[in-house]
Symmetry: C3
């Protein structure tokens, strides 16, 4: 059965028109979804969480992706391990609480016991010849950069070629914010009724900003220009950028704007007069990390397939997109602030989360409606606009991964 399907998906890949959206099955077929998990999410990096969730030895949280549950746990030597939450005996979940602290990982079924690095330390009453060293929990590849824990499910596959460059860029541009020592001030979760690629496409272009995100457009200068209607707006953003860049550099920021097939990292000005991504542009929390001054810019990064991060001078925003099923994606937004900031005194959660809460509410509705239409017999992939060319890069990359 697999082979027939595989040939039909190969035909779909071959018939893809570059610069156009994907064909329907890529957005709703359960077998394509399984292939996405198997060929992309097992091999590529996924942001799992922030280090502040597991400060102490034995602290853990569960990271979910598709049907997979991964235990992200701080081990004895302080290292972070990511272990498939599956007992090697008969397959039970080992950890059932979403987070906690464990000296050892004891399967709740038959008490097989693993150390925090996944080694099997006790399996009572096994037959002679049983070799415990062959039954450790399956480990994922882990990389931590600036406090962000990235996981690759299948540690036996090589890291994507561009990984090192992406992480180096991330580290270089985000360093001043000191995310590793920040704390989580808030997080919100949405269940979007859409395939993860519709979520990626939504997040990857601002062609829809003007018709759908008035709040975002009121804060972000780059969202203002209607390149088609008002060339003057493009000029204005160019002017803003060229005035802001030397000012920002003078404050010690790197501008970056480094891009590869796998990642993008760079800095841009927010909006004339805006110090941070807030309703009125005024600060919403104390300056992050080493920063001494607001420069009116923000740093953002993207690493394929689903990793994003945005830093304003006084807070960070980490979106976490998790594929759950062919037409279901979980979206979490996590806000970071300086670790010693005190809620109520130094920041107000409603003000801090305002921009991305209202924007994500809107995006959820857009993607829900997008999925419904894509499921139609009448759906035909259409061409991307000028301001959607990032999606052409994404779909090209995507199809190469699953080919």
């Amino acid at each position: 059965m697999a082979s027939t399907f595989e040939s039909s998906i190969d035909a779909l890949i071959a018939s893809h028109k570059p610069g156009y959206a994907l064909a329907q099955p890529f957005y709703n077929d359960p077998q394509v979804f399984q292939r996405d998990i198997a060929r992309i999410f097992t091999k590529q990096w996924s942001f799992a969480g922030h280090v502040s969730r597991i400060k102490n030895q034995g602290d853990y949280f569960l990271f979910t992706i598709g049907d997979e549950s991964i235990i992200v746990i701080r081990g004895k030597d302080g290292e972070v391990n990511a272990l498939f939450n599956v007992c090697r005996h008969r397959g039970s979940r080992v950890c059932v609480e979403a987070e906690g602290n464990k000296k050892a990982l004891v399967c709740p079924y038959h008490a097989w016991t693993y150390t925090t690095d996944g080694s099997l330390s006790s399996a009572p009453a096994m037959l002679d010849g049983f070799d415990a060293s062959q039954f450790g929990m399956r480990k994922c590849d882990v990389h931590i950069v600036e406090g962000l824990i990235f996981v690759r499910l299948d540690a036996s596959t090589p890291r994507p070629p561009d990984s090192d460059a992406a992480f180096a860029d991330l580290e270089r541009l985000f360093k001043p914010y000191r995310f590793a020592s920040a704390k989580i001030a808030a997080s919100l979760v949405w269940r979007v009724r859409g395939n993860w690629k519709l979520v990626v496409e939504n997040f990857g272009e601002c062609y829809h900003c003007r018709p759908t995100h008035p709040e975002y457009c009121s804060v972000m200068a780059h969202a203002t220009p209607d390149t088609y209607k008002a060339p003057r707006a493009v000029e204005e953003f160019g002017k803003l950028k060229s005035e802001w860049e030397p000012r920002s550099k003078a404050l010690g920021f790197e501008i970056g704007n480094s891009e590869s097939p796998l990642h993008y990292v760079g800095r841009l000005p927010i909006k004339e007069g805006f110090l941070t991504q807030s309703r009125d542009g005024k600060p919403v929390a104390p300056l992050m990390g080493d920063l001494k001054e607001y420069d009116g810019g923000y740093t953002s990064m993207r690493i394929y397939p689903l990793n994003y991060c945005i830093a304003s001078a006084d807070h960070g925003l980490i979106p976490r997109f998790t594929p759950i099923g062919p037409e279901l994606t979980e979206v979490e937004m996590i806000w970071l602030v300086k670790s010693d900031a005190v809620e109520g005194r130094d920041y107000d959660v409603a003000k801090l989360t305002w921009l991305w809460k209202v924007t994500t509410d809107q995006d959820k509705t857009l993607v829900d409606n997008n999925q419904a239409g894509v499921n139609s017999l009448a759906y035909r992939p259409g061409p991307y606009a000028k301001t959607e060319q990032g999606l052409t890069r994404f779909t090209t990359w995507y199809l190469a991964q699953i080919a």
Copy 2:
């Protein structure tokens, strides 16, 4: 994968025993359901709604069938268009409210804008060479007869051979009721846990009336005769019919009883002493259209696959059966009355809807139980009874369509 399935469904069609119900997969297999949509509902006529729902230019409502959403909208010249509710850019639903009024159809995602006839009038920021004339919304075939809007999803396929005759018959016999100028007095919706063909079969025979529909049998003379137990009852209905027919003709009604592979239209008497399809046979609303008198008859029509209409002298009843999934069908019953009738004064909704509300409640339970049993390993198609021979015609037609 498709090819293996196709040969197995062809084998099922080949092994069908005429005069018997269909084999299990025709009633519950998701792939058969997809084929039903693709080979029947795209090509055949479906009743979408009554013209009174879209009186003014820009008025629209959404018509749903399977996963499809169709925008039925009155355009600039007063013509009615039926457009797939799918943006040609990236596939978003264009209309998200079930009904309303639109001067233009603006996609809520990126503001691609269509006229009410589906032409793309604005798509900002597209790359050079983009030809808007190639990206109109996909249009369905539309035909309106006596105020009933019929839609065929795939306008590129030829109309079914018998279409013209069916619509002509419908027009001829229903003309006196003037449905086009009537108004909707009430509508009710049921979600039936059964395949659409089980719903058709249920609606297409009265073999089950005596055991299950005491109210219907108390109103409708044709439902009384137990042709098997009481030949006298058949005689009686024959006598009633022969007495009623000249009386009805004298009042200007055509009797009709025209039938083709695709449709049936005809008139029959209700019951001795009954003026309309009501509990006591007394009027429940003002006379429809041009009618000056009650003749004690009713007109009914059926056009395959799922279109029905019943007219009593003082009201109309339009059942709307919509396939939603392999084992789920939506049933809507719509009651029409003369447009100037006033609720409370001229008609009472409870009295008007009594017969078909109680009957459809019963039918829903019958079909739910039918589906449950059909799903069993022990299910084998059984033979139709004498009074179910209309189902033989239907299943023969159905299998020819999907072969």
Copy 3:
């Protein structure tokens, strides 16, 4: 399509490692589930219910397994019939209430009428040549032993070779309890989110008792020994057994411990000082059947695939495991007491049900977690422990059935 699947399941069977759990598809694939129903549950015995539910002629209850509904009804001559609840006309469910009393089985759709042995006695208005004798309801194979009604869906297949021996053993060892004249004192139902084989495996080993069932371990001596940690505990259970056995035999009990590929029947002591399976070991109901004295033992039996029964001196416990879907199993626990026992005076339901209620609550959680982990990409079947060797027998038997 079937053929491709069949070869892939055959490959899975061929690659099974004896002594290990099953591969993932056996626990979650819908097509494997269908094969389980078709090749195991149609041919093997399933406990359907206790005779006290249908004391009188015409009494019936519905027995559900997968999508199948079976009418278990006491017929005119007092015999028990098991009939597929599917009308031979168009497949409707014939009985829709979960239990009741029927003189005849009248299909609620078109009133086809069957006798209590499934013969079609009336089908009005059929075409000439219709032969009612060809349209009886499909009957299952039925065997009743000690009041337990067992059903095989496909009566046309031979009984499993070991059936007679299994039922004879059951009868011999359970006779003193007189289950046939007992009454149901209580029953409880759980919906377990796991494949039926995970439920079987859970019920079939006590390797998990110590980590998960403190209450069960406090009552049942056999659950105490940690064969790996405390060889002394094994010795102690051996000592208890050898002291108890002659005492039990002196009271007229057979010890049994008979085993075949299909079944096990035997007796064991409960725990030093315990008269019955209760919290404190004290009686919870009057002595069953012919018993005059407590011997401190209990009788248990298992017949593949899913039949179990446990008798203490003063009550019986019948677990009923019903596959509903690939990842869903219904568990019912039924408690029997002597028929003339009076609730409140002779027994207290909370005390009677305590042990198996708390234990089944725990088992439900264990199996839910087991299924979740088995669904992971990282799941690999692990080896059974010494005290799980019964599972090796079960999986070997299972794979032979579906091969």
